[in-house]
């Protein structure tokens, strides 16, 4: 199945040629989780603050659904 991925902040550096305007279309295995997707893309989990699937925050063990929009954010600090 395929999912759409957007990487925020400077997380795009982990994927060669990442263009934030288009994001990525990624093919993943059925039953793949957020953590599996990140491993496939090469984004280390400790660089991630939060992930949303179609606007809902999820944990790293959450399973992906076909066609879902995955937004990946860096940890935030400061104010």
């Amino acid at each position: 199945m395929q999912v759409q991925v957007k990487l925020y902040g400077t997380l795009g550096k982990w994927v060669a040629g990442y263009d934030h305007r288009t994001g990525l279309a990624v093919n993943v295995d059925e039953g793949a989780t957020v953590a599996d997707l990140m491993a496939q893309l090469g984004v280390p989990l400790d660089k991630i603050g939060m992930v949303s699937l179609d606007g809902r925050l999820v944990g790293k063990a959450t399973a992906l659904r076909s066609g879902v929009l995955v937004k990946v954010f860096h940890p935030i600090f400061g104010g």
Binding site: Y8, G9, T10, H20, R21, K47, I48, G49, M50, V51, S52, G55, L57, V58, G59, K60, K71, F73, H74, P75, I76, F77, G78, G79
Partner: protein, 575 residues
């Protein structure tokens, strides 16, 4: 360790040693302590009894990075309580290098008089008649002051809003490039400066007389370790340089905490047009600057220079809070218009947060449509022009609400909240309600605990743990604002051994032992002084609340309200 006292009534200047009671203090600890000790709490904030005090942080002009932070204190005309507003740029380092711990401005020049206060390279202060600078906007003012006095000065000044003594007036100060784009925005301190008759403070950057260190070597070693941690941290070492604080737009919007259209919604459909990612791309494409040094001794460079389609300067440091107040809050998805509004506020001397929220309230009341950026620009221009409606906008959101008899006004103690809706991050409800500063995000930013580790180590919709988080952060921040470390360099504090480095630096400068208990005591001392002042000014526990809209109107998309009880609010500070 000099204290310069300027009496604007008598036009006299006295230079004293910093009184023993304030030894070892800087920044907010010094300004809030001094105001609490010397200003009658029920006095008129715009009268001669109020005092305006400028104090660099305790670490300003030391070898530690990111420490050019100036605290400005007074009784606030906006909240009626005590105020400390801090700002970067070059002035704090300049004052520190002159050996000046504080400048105290007392009394009041007769109405119609305009004065400049100049601090010479030897630390002497002079008052200069400044009628020729009256009513000038800040960019033109700084240009003229540079012509007259040279470029090796930092300028801290007010624009027309401060001269009109409007409650949302800021004090602007110059950045590394000499642009008056850095603001002590909150609390209307520009109006206090205007009421004193002081248009600008011109401080020589040539000082070589910083306070001596008890143990310079120990300080240097700890400062070096601290700087290394700031550089090594992903957020301060990589994300802030690339995107600035605007990197927060998409994240806060995604979690539904981005107050939109006067906080009717928590998500803005055009967030991607005004995000840090988009801003950085536009700046790059047009030949502007990301990764820009705004303040002296900064190694993060969170600032930027936003340019127009022709590559011409529009404004410097377009930041998250302004992108929100002039963007989502007024329903405006046009980043060029936001940049223009940011420039206008800096130039006229207005707090971008209070002004954007004031415009949002006016739009919510039906005065103009949400999203009408041209109407927003016109409203800000009216402030400079001094029209009746301009004055209402310039007095901030509460004044606008009163004018339209509209009760959806997101202010606490008269000051507007910032870019985090408390219904979607409950800890911010505690900070907004209980901070002696009024609605203020820097006083106790607890967003990270509520979002980190894939959705928060605290449940952001529940009251549990939020009071404690806010209390601890407010105490900690009161200490941070006193030593004068930039918020964004706090990564150095959070790193292993980071806070110990800070204790060591305080000890190395003062020659006195300093540890965790002293750090806590410093933060508590500040908050106690501020709360004591506010109590004498007439504040009661009933003022530590939010407006009704936050308890009654569920915020889409999560449809939550604030669930922190009054008793919990009151338990935040039991002193």
């Amino acid at each position: 360790m000099k204290l310069i006292k300027v009496d604007m009534t008598a036009k006299t200047i006295r230079v004293e040693d910093l009184p023993a009671a304030y030894k070892g203090l800087g920044g907010r600890a010094l300004t809030s302590g001094y105001i609490n000790d010397h200003v009658p709490a029920t006095s008129d904030a715009l009268g001669p009894e109020n005092i305006l005090i400028f104090a660099p942080g305790y670490f300003s002009a030391t070898p530690l990075v990111n420490t050019s932070r100036l605290s400005v204190g007074a009784k606030s005309p906006l909240t009626g309580g005590i105020k400390e507003s801090n700002v970067g740029g070059t002035v704090a380092a300049a004052l520190g290098n002159l050996g000046i711990s504080a400048i105290v401005v007392e009394g009041q020049a007769p109405e119609g008089e305009t004065w400049l206060l100049k601090i010479e390279p030897d630390g002497q202060a002079v008052l200069i008649e400044g009628q020729a600078y009256r009513d000038m906007r800040t960019y033109a003012l700084v240009e003229k002051l540079v012509d007259e006095f040279g470029a090796k000065n930092s300028v801290t000044c007010i624009g027309p809003a401060g001269e009109q003594q409007l409650s949302a007036a800021s004090i602007q100060t110059t950045d590394m490039d000499g642009h008056p784009c850095r603001a002590a925005g909150r609390g209307g301190l520009g109006a206090v400066m205007g009421a004193k008759g002081l248009k600008a403070l011109i401080v020589s950057r040539a000082g070589k007389n910083a306070d001596p260190m008890a143990d310079a070597e120990a300080f240097k070693a700890a400062a070096k370790a601290y700087a290394k941690a700031v550089k090594a941290d992903e957020f301060s070492g990589e994300i802030l340089p690339a995107l600035g604080s605007a990197c927060l737009v998409e994240a806060i919007n995604e979690v539904g905490a981005f107050p939109t259209r006067n906080a009717r919604e928590g998500q803005f459909e055009h967030a991607d047009q005004i995000s840090g990612e988009t801003m950085a791309r536009i700046i790059r494409e047009r030949g502007g600057k990301t990764t820009h040094k705004g303040c002296a001794q900064c190694i993060i460079d969170c600032s930027n220079e936003y340019v127009d389609k022709e590559g011409k300067y529009v404004t410097s440091s377009l930041e998250y809070e302004t992108i929100w107040s002039m963007g989502g809050m007024i329903g405006n998805g046009d980043l060029d218009a936001i940049a223009r509004l940011d420039f206008l506020c800096d130039d006229i001397g207005l707090d971008t947060i209070s002004t954007g929220v004031a415009i949002g309230v006016a739009m919510d009341a039906g005065y103009k449509s949400f999203g009408d950026a041209q109407a927003a620009i016109a409203m800000v221009e009216e402030v400079a022009a001094g029209t009746d409606f301009g004055k209402i906008i310039g007095h901030g959101p509460a004044a606008v609400g009163k004018h339209f008899n509209h009760d959806r006004v997101p202010v606490m103690k008269g000051q507007s909240m910032a870019a985090y809706d408390p219904r979607a991050i409950q800890g911010m409800a505690v900070t907004y309600a209980t901070s002696p500063m009024g609605g203020d995000h820097t006083a106790g930013w607890v967003v990270d605990q509520n979002l980190e580790a894939f959705g928060g180590t605290l449940d952001r919709f529940s009251a549990e743990g939020q009071v404690e988080a806010s209390r601890n952060t407010q105490i900690h921040m009161a200490a941070v604002d006193s030593v004068g470390i930039c918020d964004f360099a706090q990564s150095g504090l959070a790193a292993p051994g980071g806070i110990e480095n800070v204790y060591q630096m305080v000890a190395a400068k003062s020659g006195q032992p300093f540890g965790e208990e002293d750090w806590q005591a410093l933060g508590l001392r500040v908050l106690k002084a501020e709360r004591a002042f506010n109590r004498r000014a007439g504040f009661t526990p009933a003022d530590d609340r939010l407006p009704r809209m936050f308890y009654e109107e569920p915020l889409p998309p999560h449809n939550k309200v604030v669930v922190i009880s009054d008793a919990e609010m009151e338990a935040t500070f039991d002193f």
